[in-house]
Every structure is written in C-alpha cells, then in structure tokens.
Amino acid sequence: MSDLRRTALYDLHVELGGKMVPFAGYEMPVHYAAGVMKEHLHCRARAGLFDVSHMGQVLVRAESGDGADAAQALEALVPVDLLGLKEGRQRYAMFTSEQGGILDDLMVANRGDHLFLVVNATCKTADIAHLRAHLRGCEITEVTDRALLALQGPEAGRVLSAHVPVAGMRFMDVAVLESDFGPLWVSRSGYTGEDGFEISVAEPRAEAFCRALLADGAVAPIGLGARDSLRLEAGLCLYGSDIDITTSPVEAGLAWAIQKARRGGGAREGGFPGAARVLKDLADGPARLRVGLAPQTRAPMRAGTPLFEAEIGGAPIGEVTSGAFGPTVEAPVSMGYVPAALAAEGTVLFGDVRGRRLPAKVVRLPFKTATYKR
C-alpha cells in the first residue's frame, strides 16, 4: 500500500469507519460501516457525501486571456460544442482518439476567462499530457491543492444551502461561491442520477467542510461501492468498463453529448480526433450499441458476462460491461454492448452465468429515472 496516495480526507474516512482499498492509485473508502446497500439507499432517500478528490481538476486558460479562445482550442480534442457553452454552465464531453474511440470522459465548465475540467482519476496523467501536447496557446494547470466532494440526493440542495446560496442553481450550472470554508467551486451535477452538487474546496478546509455537511442528520458518507451501483442504476458509463479507447461515443449511446454544431452540416463540423468514424456512426448508425440489460432471474450478470442471441448454440454476440444488484430497483442491473439489430427494447438475450445461459431483456436506460433539477 506504500505507493498509494491519500486524499485530504483520509483520516476522516478512517474515523468514519471507511474500509480503505486501493483505487486508481489512491487509498479510498469502498464503504463505511453501513455497507454498500444501505449507503446506496440512503443517498437516494436523503443525501450522500462522496470524496472524489482522486479525480483530476484542471484549469485551461488561453494565453490571450479570452475564455472563448480556450473553448475553441479544446474543441480540437472533443466532439462537443464548447463555443456555445455559456459562462456559468458545464457540459459532459469526451476526449476522442484518432480512431474515434474514447480516451476519457470529462466535465467542462465555462468559468468566464478560463475552463475548468474534471477528469477521471485513472486517466488524469494521460489527459493532462494530451492537453499539453495538443492545446497550443493554452496554459494547462492541474489543481493539486483542492479536494473534490460530491453531495448527492434529494436533500443535497437543502443541506448545501446552509453554507452557500445554491437554491437558484440548476442542473449543470457552475459557480464560485464564498463560504466559511473559503471559496467553493460548485457545480449542480454529479454521477448518481440524483440532484446534487460537486464541490471543490481548498484542502486545508476540506475536512472541516465535510464535518459541517455531515453534522446535518440527512448526510451520510458514501463509499466507492455505492457510487458504482448508483451510477449504474442511473445508466451512466464508467470509463474503463463501459467506455474505452475501443468504443466510439455513438456506440456508447453518448451521441446526445455531440451538439449540432459539431455534427455533419454543423457550423464547426468535425475537427476533433476520430471525427471521420464518429460522424459516420452518427450518419449511418453504429454497428453495435450500449444497452441496458435487465437479467430475468435474480442472478447478477457482472462485467465480462458473454451475451448470446439464443439459449443454446451460437457464438457470443456481445458482453456485459457493468453489472451488479441495483438496490433501488431491487433487481440485478447490467449494461453491455450488442449488435444494433439486437438492441431494440424488449429483445431477450442470454448471458452465460457460471456455464448457464440466463435470460436478460434489453431495456431503456436509465434503470432509475434521474431527478436532476433542470
């Protein structure tokens, strides 16, 4: 464990009974005393506090000092309309490879004269190198002195309002707000399907801020285990499982993140790595698609489960990329890739679980409807 890094909240995790495990080079809590199931349900019922400080926080500033120049530069790496992203708003994006695969998925916020990016922990070193190699005329700064928290769930807004005025924010708004814990970088977003916030706070103040949030009886600490089952029920992709360098954004069902301006016939059509494949997938439809899968028995179908068209015979037609028991839907939930011809809702496929082919129905994602404050 000696090479593992710790976040500013490590001592608090241990004090709260967190079971610490290695994750993306960090020692992180997989769950606390309550356990994954109770933590998951608590987050959906009240509010959950997550330490996501292992994720990368990056500032992108154009040398010109003009935020639009930074947005234009970054458009060369993502298929997303960033020039159309208003100040105080954030968008989901992905870095594409030259082959049109996904190098990482990320959030991009327009903070006026610069952009603020949040990237995955496992990819952050590569992402920053990628940005530095390709964004000419921009200064790339990794933020290493701030913790990142997520406060998610129906009571998140009420709880955070005691510290900063967030009542007027809506889904995907971002703001820098003064607080007793110094300036908080707040976005009304998250990765659970719940209303909630991601909050960047200076490391020396992070523990005190967490304690203040946890002092509200509605807030419980939530580990990585429940973070995973929450995002899976919400139908959200985990980089490295559901999306990676081999999956195009369109196959992954992320075409909604590619705005008109960057599509065929748009004002700034293409112009990102792998545009040929991505635009072709948009125009013709991809050969395979990420779908929701509802296993029809109680047996969870986990990542790696091969999928078949029939109960007997034939070669695998796809594979489960995420699968677990969904505590809120009270049933196993999975996602995976299948040929487009087998991706229609209601199609019954078969997953090989311990040598037996068990039925799983293609269903619309998400499993649990999101409750974002739009």
Binding site: H31, G35, V36, M37, G225, R298, P300, F325, P332, R354
Partner: protein, 119 residues
C-alpha cells in the same frame, strides 16, 4: 458449533449437519443479494462447490464441508438473501446434509479454534 477454514459453521440437528457461513464471513462479503442452492438429493464430496452467493461486491462459492447428501435447502434465502447478513448462524443457514459418520466433525475447529483462526 464447528467451523471450517472456509468460514462455514456446522451444527448437528437430528443427526443432520446444518451448514451456513459465519458472521465474520458474512461481514467480509457485504450485503448478500443472490443465493443459488443445490438440489435436494444431490450427493456431494468434500470441497465440491455447491452454493453460489453473490454480494454487492462479488460472487463466491460455498464448498461442501464433508462428503454426504443434501437433504434440505433453505429456500427462503432465494427471495430474502439478506437473511445471510441479518442472521448468519440462525435463519441464514444454507443446507442440511446427511453424512455417513458424524465423527468427521471432530476434525473441525471449535469456537475457540475459529476465533484464533480469524485472529
């Protein structure tokens, strides 16, 4: 009560051996969400994988602790797998087996031995 190194407990009731997993094992596994039980009447050999349990974390196998025949399984676990966490040594039992020679249990750990084993 007797214990295996696979964290199963065994208890003799009416000349049958009742088998489950220990509280320690249940806690390590986390919330159990799925249990697959063997068919009644199955003849098993020691260390056969006869029960599959899945927790929120992962799938694990429960091994037959002795040679014998499965004579009853706890069907209630199929619909309420969480019972394994709530009452691992009581209502959370998995199966009952008939064994040739109950003295085979003598080789297994007792309470004190298991306590030492899990440290």
């Amino acid at each position: 009560m007797k214990y295996t190194e696979e964290h199963e407990w065994l208890r003799v009731e009416d000349d049958l051996v009742v088998v489950g997993i220990t509280a320690h094992a249940a806690e390590q596994l986390g919330d159990v969400v799925f249990v697959e039980l063997p068919d009644v009447g199955t003849t098993v050999s020691k260390d056969d994988e006869i029960v599959v349990i899945e927790s929120v974390k992962a799938a694990s196998d429960i091994l037959a602790p002795l040679d014998g025949e499965i004579v009853e399984v706890n069907e209630a676990l199929v619909d309420a797998p969480g019972t394994v966490n709530e009452d691992p040594t009581g209502a959370g039992w998995f199966f009952k087996m008939k064994v040739e020679d109950l003295s085979a249990l003598d080789d297994l750990m007792d309470d004190a031995g298991y306590k030492d084993f899990i440290g």
